[in-house]
Symmetry: C2
Subunit: 116 residues, 2 copies
């Protein structure tokens, strides 16, 4: 799709996608929440609270809260690690995968419109 995207076009793409996202998605995830979600789904597991906190450069409560919220939305799940019961392993869900798949398609669609 996008070929030779300029900075301006890149911003235009961001604009289109953001706009669409604001319009249709009532969920309205924070930038941080989205970053966490993407990290969980795009980087090979396992994912832990502390690992995500380190990767994003935020404190642990931020991760816990984000997981609470996104858990209620059905986008992620948590399970205790049986090998080290201090750890919590973050799991993906079908809804979460669909959510991101939808976002990916949106980017592509807008990117295509952007370069036409």
């Amino acid at each position: 799709m996008p070929v030779d995207l300029t900075p301006t076009q890149a911003l235009g793409l961001w604009h289109e996608v953001t706009l669409q996202q604001v319009h249709q998605d009532g969920r309205d995830l924070t930038l941080r929440q989205l970053a966490i979600l993407l990290e969980i789904y795009l980087v090979p597991p396992p994912h832990t609270v502390r690992g995500l906190a380190a990767k994003l450069g935020v404190t642990k409560p931020v991760i816990t809260r984000a997981l609470d919220t996104m858990g209620e939305l059905g986008l992620v799940t948590r399970m205790r690690d049986d090998r080290d019961r201090r750890n919590v392993v973050i799991k993906r869900t079908v809804d979460g995968a669909l959510y991101l798949e939808h976002l990916g398609d949106l980017i592509i669609a807008r990117g295509r419109a952007q370069t036409l």
Copy 2:
């Protein structure tokens, strides 16, 4: 830059940019705020509160609040319209332009890394 971006790669790009943004930018704009900012800077003026509200599909107080916040951050300014003093015209600022320019560069840089 990105050539033949797949949905997965598009998500990867979003991931990288979001991650970077979370890391370095303390401002942490809402998705809505970012959409408003992009609208102001990428679409030809004039911009009004009601116009932005309609374009984004949100209520007017949302726009007013967002302009308050981003105004304090120096990203936008407001001026009363002298021809119709009921209106408020939203103006761009140097800082706002720099902010988005930075974001555009970030997208390009990450997009390049994405397809390497």
